[in-house]
Symmetry: C2
Subunit: 280 residues, 2 copies
């Protein structure tokens, strides 16, 4: 049975959204809808235009027999500004302040909608890069890593503080936490990163950058390349240098006033570091 | 500028996929596309039919001034069988066998595509239930929890083994691990679960069920209700009773043969416990 264009467009959109960065052949769609490749090509032009107009992403066409289309999720500058605004409003709520000036972030890191914003921002920032893996360290960054990985269509690997029997052989490093100056351990399963893999490191918070630097060192043991570092919130560092220089951050924590119950936030370096946005 | 139907259908599909179980008013779409509500209604009929035909989910219409549509991701029986087959093939690969008969699962739990299958299976199983939260315990179940929560459109909460300063006040319980009979601790931030919340508990593995029972006990402290328990892989239990009886599992581990390097898997109780599938 031949499938109508409207049905094809709806199913195609859903399929491509669920398979970001995956090369899908025209034959696949032609068989799926029992339609001619020429019709599929026309459909894809409509999908491409809409994705670009709406700031959903771009559709890359790969010509030739082994070709097809690939959906690259992206973000427009306006959407990125909006997303960062939404995140900022949530993070700056004064009831997040915990004794000692810590921020309660658990609800944000478990909020699927907010994590979608974070994931899209990171995926948009690295839309033109080859990324093979997203890496984070247990536990708090895992939601961010999964959100980014979903839009990038790549796996997540999670470094741990301790080695577990279910990880198989592991590689472990010691690193110095930048802010507390304590020596800490980070462990990654040997099987989880292939040599030469291009890895996007993400984390929820960065102070001096010790943890991010630790992840970089760990990846060196795997002969993997750091393709980028994405931080949800960085904190203002006055005196000290950061251990990681090349990163993008969505938000920057300027100050917390425990007595006055205020949290001062500003936009991170995202817009200074990210140059390619979707038009909108 | 008026937007063409094809563009509306594509953007609507994308929007609804990104906002599962959220009530979206017709006015929202009418404004978004500068189109009449009657056109939007017609669009939604097409989207609904396609979602149902293609096993993507259903579109609930809520009538009245405060009404709108709600996309409920679902799964057809055929798709569920296919997904479980894909997962089974991955889990049963003999190179997963670790010394002691443990299974290396880290790559599977970090694989976005496989986690999408797991998430859709759990969301499909609870498509007709009110779910407010997905809960798991750190660390391995977090990817599963995020995947399920994404299709259910609800937040994730993660219980921890230890209390951290960034969790604020916490509630902690001791429980007996069913298989090792050791006393363990589980901690959950006080703010993370509201009284009366209906919670879906998920985990990657269940042996005697001690951890799942622990999560149930912890939720009792919050006066929350367990709406369901979803387990990726349960292991065969011969002599002992399980500490949790009411759960769904995707796969069941029958046996591992370390010497012969074989892993015997079968389908879990999913199809016995889940009754409502999308037609297809």
């Amino acid at each position: 049975m031949k499938i109508k264009r409207s049905e094809r467009l709806i199913d195609m959109t859903h399929y491509l959204s669920e398979h970001p960065r995956e090369l899908v052949s025209l034959t696949f769609f032609a068989n799926r809808y029992a339609s001619a490749k020429s019709s599929i090509s026309e459909d894809l032009v409509i999908v491409k235009d809409t994705f670009e107009n709406r700031g959903i992403g771009s559709l890359q066409t790969v010509p030739g027999a082994a070709g097809g289309v690939r959906f690259i999720p992206g973000i427009s500058k306006g959407q990125a500004e909006e997303s960062i605004q939404v995140l900022s409003e949530q993070v700056s709520k004064s009831d997040r302040l915990l004794p000692g000036g810590y921020l309660f972030m658990t609800d944000i890191l478990g909020d699927i909608h907010l994590m979608n914003h974070v994931g899209k921002l990171f995926a948009g920032a690295f839309a033109n890069e080859q990324i093979d893996l997203v890496m984070t360290v247990a536990t708090k960054g895992i939601g961010i890593a999964h959100a980014a990985a979903r839009y990038l269509g790549v796996p997540v690997v999670v470094a741990r503080r301790d080695s577990k029997v279910t990880e198989g052989s592991t590689v472990s490093i010691n690193y110095v936490s930048g802010s507390s100056k304590r020596i800490q351990t980070m462990v990654l399963s040997k099987r989880s990163v292939k040599q030469g893999a291009r890895v996007l490191i993400v984390d929820d918070f960065m102070k001096a950058g010790g943890t991010a630097a630790g992840m970089k060192n760990l990846l060196e043991e795997f002969s993997a390349t750091v393709a980028g570092v994405g931080i949800f919130i960085e904190s203002e560092q006055e005196s000290e240098e950061r251990l990681v220089e090349d990163y993008i951050s969505l938000l920057k924590l300027r100050s917390v006033d425990e007595k006055g119950k205020t949290i001062q936030l500003e936009t991170g370096n995202y817009f200074n570091r990210v140059s390619s946005f979707l038009k909108q």
